[in-house]
Symmetry: C2
Subunit: 389 residues, 2 copies
Amino acid sequence: MRIRSSFFSIFLLSSSSSPSSSFFSSRFSSLSAMSPGANGDFKSRVTVVGSGNWGSVAAKLIASNALKLPSFHDEVRMWVFEEVLPNGEKLTDVINKTNENVKYLPGIKLGRNVVADPDLENAVKEANMLVFVTPHQFMGGICKKLKGKVTGEVEAISLVKGMEVKKEGPCMISSVISKELGINSCVLMGANIANEIAVEKFSEATVGYRESREIADTWVQLFNTPYFMVTPVHDVEGVELCGTLKNVVAIAAGFVDGLDMGNNTKAAIMRIGLREMRALSKLLFPSVKDSTFFESCGVADVITTCLGGRNRRVAEAFAQSGGKRSFDELEAEMLQGQKLQGVSTAREVYEVLNHCGWLEMFPLFSTVHQICTGRLKPEAIVHYRDHKA
Amino acid sequence: MRIRSSFFSIFLLSSSSSPSSSFFSSRFSSLSAMSPGANGDFKSRVTVVGSGNWGSVAAKLIASNALKLPSFHDEVRMWVFEEVLPNGEKLTDVINKTNENVKYLPGIKLGRNVVADPDLENAVKEANMLVFVTPHQFMGGICKKLKGKVTGEVEAISLVKGMEVKKEGPCMISSVISKELGINSCVLMGANIANEIAVEKFSEATVGYRESREIADTWVQLFNTPYFMVTPVHDVEGVELCGTLKNVVAIAAGFVDGLDMGNNTKAAIMRIGLREMRALSKLLFPSVKDSTFFESCGVADVITTCLGGRNRRVAEAFAQSGGKRSFDELEAEMLQGQKLQGVSTAREVYEVLNHCGWLEMFPLFSTVHQICTGRLKPEAIVHYRDHKA
């Protein structure tokens, strides 16, 4: 077990914008001074990070386990990008007062041991476990802000879907975290639509790990509940790519729904999407295993995301409009500030495929991007063989 | 290419009862006397067999290709278990007059080259390709009737879902055909809800073959259309078991829907179902390949069957009734004479698992059977770990 320092911190990041800092610091530093960790009993410290829809649910899961597990400090700190609510109150104030994220997960108690903190640096400073759960476009800024501030033997886990595309190829978020902060990062992905887990309906997830099974087991302990079954898999890239690429498949499935093409067509498109996910993952990382795609992060996440996720929903509306309304417009109208990942991931995947000369091998992924940008009509989703880029 | 004799016959079997014979014989023998095959030009003869919902759609697909492919006789004969319609007309008469199966696929033209024949022996006698597509419980009787009547180099393909359970273990329908009739049999399975293919919505299927890729390619030619994409796979048992076992998963998915458990739970149950399908197939036939489960017959068929199939629909109603109404009663009420395969397959699978001492390894399959028989409540579907048989 590599985790030996006294504090774990769980970072649940706001899903609406880049991080800001300070103002609740005094309150939290007094709380952390009371922690068993500070008293030298070496409990892992789950301070906290992040507060979107999924982030809030993750905090709830972790908080319930932190209370039960003797090796964890009770308090789970949640970093919240501060927002002022319509009634003039600050979001962190309301979370700490009501124990609910009234904006992103209304009606669900997070657990009394979850403490919202608007100051990113303060939230991480005593942590030895960091959970990253933000829209992927904010991860660069967050890592920049945390660079050099995370010290000691700290472990991270990423719940972030997406990747950064650089000239030299795609860069997974877990790698960005490892590179920027100098720490190991696992990933947790799977068939988990936040609102359903929030009301404790049965679901599953997959933890992908790079080296230590022991670290993976610790994360499993921290997330696993009777209604949320977590399985560790020795394939961090495969698990992470599943979580990223499935959003592109969900966009395709949304088009099929919007055009009312029926279940056969939808199943075919989901299958072809899963096949392209698997093929691309193996091209990018030859260590990726076939068996990963049978895990919750693979086939189950494709299913749940294509049945009920927001990418599917907005893509359905896009296709219903005949491609005349833009994704930006629909996102603003339909998602109340939440972000759509599938469209930007489709663009990034397209850039990778184009850069590597692989467009013809991935007709479904290519076609999704071309429909999103208006170069092809939504109907092209089932004629993608005619539109090989 | 093993297929050299002059006639192919496509057997599409009625889905309502066991076969009866005769009475249209004179008409059909005159038709077959006009066939090019009889004139010695060695065209493969697609006479015909079967006429349920899926059988009628298969006849439509094949008929459109038989017209286009020079190596096939135009006529596709369809064996129909004779029924008298409410207006007093015979089903075969109406099919041959209107070119529609008014009972099992109303509103869809089958193709002018499809000829309904109520006489099983007559329908097969000049055929060199047989397509079996009936509820699996009728296959035993049909094979008995055809035993010794199928001569020459005849090839078969089975679209039948299900298996026969004998003391010595499960027996796949393709094996029953091979054993009883002494001919090779491929299988065609996949994500194909008949009514959606009937209206030419895009979908896929998988042909599983045992030995000859060339034979498989011939079947692909005969079924493939721009809206129905067929892929051959060298794994007849894997493909056939997918088509059989997915109906058990669909029953589980129906329970989840009936209990309104949400998409995460449904995706988890579908994934666990796919995992048990894969594990059981590999235990029964070690040659079964993982990759088969990524084909249309695997993941896509699980998806489409769990989204829209009749097994799912009846299981949903069963769960909504709290298990108080029987499957027999619901089947009679909801399916207009069509048969439910999932419940009997679940029983057969249970018998195999029980006989082999594997019940604990397949908690989902075991639980489905126990819910169907009233030994467990529908809610047990997500607590199956507590109910290991």
